[in-house]
Amino acid sequence: MSGLDSLTNVALRPWPAPKKERLEPEDLLSQVEQLARERGFLRYVTEESLQEEIATGKDVTQQAAEDDEPGTQKESQTREDRLKELGTAKNELTTELEWAQFAACNALDLISLILSKDPTKTVDRSFSALFQAQKVPHASFGISKTVDLPSERQQDRDRIEQDGQRQKLVARGSRMQALDRATDSLLSAAKQFETEVSKEAEYWEEILSISQKGWSIQRLRREGQSSMFAVRYGLPEASDHFKARGLAPLRMDKDGAIILDPALTLQPKTLRVRISDKGNVVGTSCLPLETSKADDLAIENSIRLARESLLEEELYHELSMETRQLLAYGVELRDSTVHIPIPGNGANMPQRKILIDCVVRDDNDPPIHENHSQDSRAQSVAEGLRLLLAHEHRMRLFRRSQMPPPLTQHKRQKQNPPFLRTLLAMFSHLDAVECLQAYLESTIRILSSAGLNVASQVSRETAWESLTRKIESSTRKDLSSVDQIFEAFIKPFDARATLSLPSSSSLDSEQLHIAVRTLFNSPNYGTEFKVTLPPAILSALNIPGDQRRDIKFTSADEVGSYLNWVLSLDLSHNLLRRQNPTSASVTSKNTRITIIRKDGSKKIPKDIIVELANDQLTVAIGASPMLGGAASALKFTWDGTAGAPSISAKVKALLGGG
């Protein structure tokens, strides 16, 4: 309805004032300002109150001043005044806020309108409410240049000119300020650049010196740092965990010098080998801290110490891993120390143990025990273990470079490197060979004192004897000679010993062969003695000729007692029978032989018992089962002292006498 339309489109405007009283907008503003200043507030101004004031002739400005003077009326008027003041302040606040909101909305609308030109930005919601109501299409703005007609009034022109000059001054001032700031920032940037350059130069110099000493440097990309290097000081073939530890980043401090990484400042460790005898430590190995060379930086010294410490730690780790597999041999890991009982059944090495642990490397810590008798042995054990680790690293590279076999579903088991096993094998084998050699020597002594001619020969290890020759003539180019030498130590050890039978003549000596084989793995699991019997003794032992003639033992004592038995058998059955061919006969499986002595016309069988035991050779007349009754046992003993009569003479004497 048209009536409604007129209602909705009502614009409230004051009645247009007559022309001469019409106020321009700027005049109105100034009037409003003046009014506000005079009166304080414009809220309750109505036409009636203004007429009233004209009628009463009050001057508002003076009234404001007058109101201050009467102090007596102050109290009664305080409340109203306070209320008026509060109202005034409230109005001001509201006005200011409205202005502020207006200005902010204007700015927002302007920016949003400009941004709406960019099709990728969605600024629909960033317009203020009034603006959106106007539904201005996006990017609808333009720039036009208006030509300012010079204002007619002189004061306007002056004002404009003054404004222009002031603006020029302000512009110049701010430009100078900006240039000053720019110079300051450039100067400070230059200074910082200088310090950075000197830092980098220092850093690079140290890096170069480290790299020239042979350490391998690699680049690390870290956030924030431009050029960061790390030195790889670990061994290239170390096992996984230690290979990861072998890298230390080199950081700059504020002067450009290199900060020691925490990995490098750890106290260096070393492997310590102690030999204990019945619980007392009698020998220690030590690795003193070497003094740094003259032209080394401190960082290089610490890198070198870190690498050595890593090697020692890796060795200790491998040893402790291997201990688990060797629990059967008495090797145990107690209090992070590896206890290894030295295998030895002789009287010379009773309760010896090797203790291996990893301690902080210190120069000024001499071992506190008194006995240093086995120091050199402990030192050699430690050095040997380190050499074995180095060999293991080289073998890892060698094995890796071989063409791999075709893949099957069976994964290859990784075996522990044989450090402790080699050590145990060495001790055990040498000890076994020594025991055997001692036994053979004493036996020869006894037998030769009895006039018998026996010879023996012992070789400690067959591969070691021909080692130099084998290495010299080796044609393998892929393995260095050092590694080939080490291979000889990792293989099982073989020793050979021979003893000739006393009953054999020197022309066709029949020999007992004893082979000692040591391997701390299948199939031997220790030291094994294999005795091969010559054919001559087989008849005495009732072994048919086509059966195996090998017998295996596990200790030298067992071998000794068995050989005693065999030699006694040989002496009684073979030797004495050969010496008395017509009258001797074998009647029992024991070491006795029946010799028939002719006494006049009677034939008296006499038994000769030969026994080799306890470092003694005994020949005795024993009771013959055919004779019955107890016969006095006449006997004679040889124990290795020279000058005793030979066995044949003695037997004749015994036979003749008894």
Binding site: P236, R400, P404, P406, L407, T408, Q409, T475, R476
Partner: protein, 272 residues
């Protein structure tokens, strides 16, 4: 056993750089490899394809139609001899059966046609290799019914990276007409007299994983995965891909009998 293969090309100028990169990848020094390949083919001529169906019927009485034997393929085989630098220019009789560094000197190798369809990104082919440790290899192969065709040399470097054999090599040959020879040379030419078969001197990079049983999927998958990883590792340095399988065909083609002088058949194993 079966091999999974990937090939790449390296130009002559980049050879040095690629050797250094591979030494870094495999963390080992390159191992120099010099070999002589002697190619043999069976004396029997291959049958004409399609001839099988034209066989006549049997004269047996009411016998079931037994399946005619399918035609068998005939293949080229090779004798491979390991050489050292000193062997060139000297007399190396084929009778020597010494081992070189613990490896047998002569091997008799057979490579099958590679399978169609790759398994996870690698070419698969069956190979069989027999080590000859004694006697005269040429006489042995000839007695199996083969005849000599030609010989060529290979020089290169071998790296081993986990289970992959990385072989950077190229083929050399002695220039000149050689169609009159009937057995491998007794005296090897000097190393400088050999020229690359490819005049640009480019090298081939072969990555090979050997698998015992191709039907074992777990193992084959693991091997193919290793080759894929190697391929991404070499991305940017050498592009490895699967060559055309028919270029590695070692079968003997049927040649119709025409009055022509016999030509040498194409050398097998030239990768494009």
């Amino acid at each position: 056993m079966h091999e999974l293969l990937l090939y790449g090309q390296v130009s002559k100028g980049r050879h040095e750089q690629v050797v250094k990169i591979l030494a870094g990848v495999a963390a080992m020094q390159p191992r120099r490899v010099l070999k002589r390949h002697v190619v043999y083919k069976p004396q029997r001529e291959p049958e004409e394809p399609g001839l099988v169906n034209k066989r006549g019927g049997t004269q047996s009485i009411a016998a079931k139609n037994t399946k005619q034997a399918g035609k068998t393929d005939l293949y080229f085989t090779q004798l491979v001899q390991r050489l050292t630098e000193e062997d060139f220019g000297s007399i190396v009789s084929t009778e020597q059966a010494l081992t070189v560094e613990g490896l047998p000197k002569w091997t008799y190798e057979f490579n099958d046609l590679p399978e169609a369809g790759n398994r996870g990104g690698a070419l698969v082919r069956m190979t069989n290799s027999t080590d000859i440790v004694g006697g005269d290899p040429h006489a042995y192969v000839t007695s199996l019914g083969n005849q000599f065709v030609s010989e060529y040399y290979i020089e290169g470097h071998l790296f081993v990276h986990e289970n992959i054999n990385i072989y950077l090599h190229r083929v050399l040959h002695e220039p000149g007409v050689r169609s009159l020879e009937t057995e491998p040379k007794q005296q090897l030419p000097g190393f400088d007299a050999l020229q690359p078969l490819d005049p640009s001197g480019a090298y081939m990079l072969e990555a090979k994983v050997r698998v015992q049983d191709i039907n074992n999927t777990a193992v084959t998958e693991a091997a193919a995965e290793e080759l894929r990883r190697f391929k991404t590792q070499m991305k940017g340095c050498v592009t490895m891909n699967i060559p055309d399988r028919l270029a590695m065909d070692t079968r003997i083609r049927y040649r119709p009998q025409v009055a022509q002088p016999p030509r040498k058949p194409a050398q097998p194993m030239t990768a494009r």
